[in-house]
Symmetry: C2
Subunit: 453 residues, 2 copies
């Protein structure tokens, strides 16, 4: 029977055991840091009602939602003129969609369970999201997001805790990073000081692209939005400010000092930097006034994290918002959160060779199989290894030794144990290090205690 | 603005932090046992091509697939007569579906990556699946499956390893279980010996219901399928066989001894039981000839696990199959696997109060917040606790002490640390046990070393 080789939908991925082991290592480090900081895990369903999702990501986002076809007799209610009109037909045959991010489901969760939640609510959430984006290198239709938020508190201590979490995660993963900070209130102050307070969004959106397209193109874009030359002339030096955080803030205080909101932002930034200094976590923390982040719901501090030694976009980012849940009719839930970019962090670690051996080695010991009696003796020693927490297995068949050794090699199993007829008679076992070929003979009952395992 | 409270699609669930902590505990135990036995993690995408899924679960299963509406202009190619015919229209507007189980995606993975996989391939997979079933108590439209399989080996040692895994998982979780075993070849032998070898499927399907509907109803069902009284008279005593495993197999050997396949099955069962005895894992392992399991692709050993002290269906089950990947045109991939029923295991553990404290307590220590100076001293001690791996946090605002204590109480945080102005002056800290109200004063730098934390 000739059947074509099966495949998976474009933009999706299988994660092989080798990839999974590394991904699990990465997520375990991240989760460990979250937990030690008192954050609680949360999971929401893959499917949400479309009424929850629609209108939350802009028009473009709505188009990128994966919709679930209603079950059963879904054609009821369709009319002939629906046939030419996908956007009229879709709502009639689909009332559920796959989650597009973790923020909207989190907001929905907070509103739905507000009476059971103890605020301030510290939660983390690591789950896949789906977007019907055009797949391309590094952009997938299914990918994991990894969010951590504190809602129900306006304290800047929360920002400091997030800086600490970022530092600990990346220090444990071995990635040198720079943590960039800005504040939406400072951006507003800048817009106000150049005479365009009402154009905050246009200005933010343009500034956000400065890393990608450069200062000239940003100015061009702003000109096309009717921001005049005079305003641009005052804007440029602010965005080009260099030097220490102190110096930037001092200069800024002079430039936008007449904007009350701007001064609030500077005050918040100073307080956050004071926290960081007092906690000894201010190294590589950098005020970056060109940092804008596209999402409009941020209202205070914004964060972005870059890897120092690897060329890739930001690997983590987030910010403070005044109102997470207003979209669901529950006002006044302020909070602050960041999102770790799992795919990019994985790429950085792979690119820099940062995954430790234990994240790539799965089974540590393979017992060769020499037939019924030897098998039994092996199984008993094997049970001791597993008891000691050492991932180990026995080749299930009495196959040729060459084949069994090949299995160990291909799997990258570093140690092979041989209990053949001779060893069986003496109660011994040969432990062979597959990496250098060295071997030694030890009592079978003592393998689990070998220091190299 | 009055907005209706948002909700989630019926049959789906949010997992709150308390539930997640317990679920994580359960999954961590299961994964730990899998890993120690040399199994490797695998993940496949939530969406599969419908060509992969359709026809694999029977007609009923096809109807229960959640289909994803194609993106973009999905109405192209629709004709007026599609409007009255959902089953003709669905394939034109949807070419992807959500996975229905983990077995078919696993088979697809094995075929797709056969050149990269080292056989025997030991993998585990823990992911949600989706079924458009009618939601009811204990039946969800999104639920986790937890599968472990060894493919590419016919050795019965693999069966013994699965028995060992089952024992270790449930012993670590604290659930007393009975492991029921049968063999499809024995069932075939029985069908053959009662003169109905060709009716193996009908007989298996009927026997499978014996626990639910009883012997009489099973006989009634078989009568309706033209199994005669004489055959039923020979069948009944076999299914009612009681006594030790040895006795059952001995009697069976007499009854179905003339069936070659049946004798093969008895031989396999004996070998598996021998393994279990030699490994000391034969307690509560029970040959149950009425165990059939509905799925027709099982061809050898079949397993089912019941909780001894809690009334619920089987909490784990599986079996051996000759041909996992034939559905995708790659014959001869034998294997054996089992699936742990996460939701039921969770219910058993909850019902019997088996979740340990560490699975329900999240944050262990809360530092109260008494203002800027005290906060800073607290943050320093807090960093030491986190360093020591103790989940801990500080209340982010200098709120009223009553409010902060209420937060600790509602969150179930067992210890509160107080560094007020007095303690600040002396470098001390008060550690209060919230469960009995006791408290003691210690140097702030030594909190992390307290034995009770």
């Amino acid at each position: 029977m000739a059947v074509s080789k099966p495949s998976i939908p474009k933009g999706t991925r299988d994660f092989s055991p080798a990839e999974m082991s590394r991904r699990n290592y990465m997520f375990d480090v991240i989760k460990g840091v979250f937990r030690r900081h008192g954050f609680l895990p949360l999971e929401t369903p893959a499917m949400e009602n479309l009424s929850t999702l629609l209108g939350k990501y802009g028009e473009e986002g709505d188009k990128l939602l994966f919709r679930i076809l209603n079950s059963g007799d879904f054609t009821r209610g369709l009319a002939a003129d629906d046939l030419d009109n996908p956007s009229a037909m879709a709502p009639k045959i689909s009332d559920k969609g796959l989650r597009y991010d973790l923020t909207v489901p989190f907001a929905r969760y907070v509103v739905q369970h507000r009476n059971d939640i103890v605020f301030p609510f510290r939660r983390y959430q690591i789950q896949p999201v789906w977007r019907a984006d055009r797949p391309q290198r590094g952009r997938y239709r299914e990918f994991y997001q990894c969010d951590v938020d504190i809602v129900g508190s306006r304290s800047l201590l929360n920002e400091a805790e997030l800086v600490q979490i970022v530092r600990q995660v990346f220090s444990q993963l071995g990635i040198a990073v720079t943590i960039k900070l800005n504040n939406r209130k400072i951006l507003y102050g800048i817009a106000e000081s150049i005479g365009h307070a009402d154009r905050m969004t246009d200005i933010t959106v343009a500034i956000d692209k400065i890393d990608k397209i450069g200062m000239d193109a940003v100015c061009e874009e702003l000109r096309s939005k009717d921001i005049g030359e005079e305003a641009l002339d005052s804007l440029k030096p602010i965005l080009e400010l260099r030097g220490s955080n102190d110096l930037k803030l001092k200069t800024l205080r002079q430039t936008i000092g007449h904007s009350e909101t701007g001064m609030d932002g500077i005050g918040e930034m100073e307080k956050l930097l004071d926290y960081c200094a007092a906690l000894g976590i201010d190294g590589n923390v950098e005020v970056d006034l060109s940092l804008a982040r596209g999402l409009n719901y941020y209202t205070g501090t914004i964060f972005e994290v870059k890897a120092n030694d690897f060329e890739i976009g930001s690997i983590c980012g987030g910010g403070r918002y005044d109102d997470l849940t207003g979209i669901f009719g529950m006002p006044d839930t302020p909070g602050v959160g960041i999102s770790f970019g799992a795919d990019r962090i994985y790429d950085v670690m792979n690119g820099l060779g940062l995954f430790p051996d234990e994240a790539t080695v799965s089974t540590k010991v393979l017992f060769l199989n020499f037939g019924p009696q030897e098998e039994l003796a092996s199984m008993k020693a094997l049970a001791q290894l597993r008891e000691a927490g050492i991932p180990s297995e026995i080749y299930p068949d009495n196959a040729k030794v060459k084949k069994q050794m090949e299995y160990a090699n291909k799997r990258g199993i570093p140690f092979v144990v041989i209990i053949g007829s001779e060893e069986l008679a003496t109660g011994m076992a040969v432990v062979k290090d597959m990496r250098d070929g060295s071997q030694r003979t030890v009592p079978a009952g003592e393998i689990a205690r070998l220091p190299e395992l």
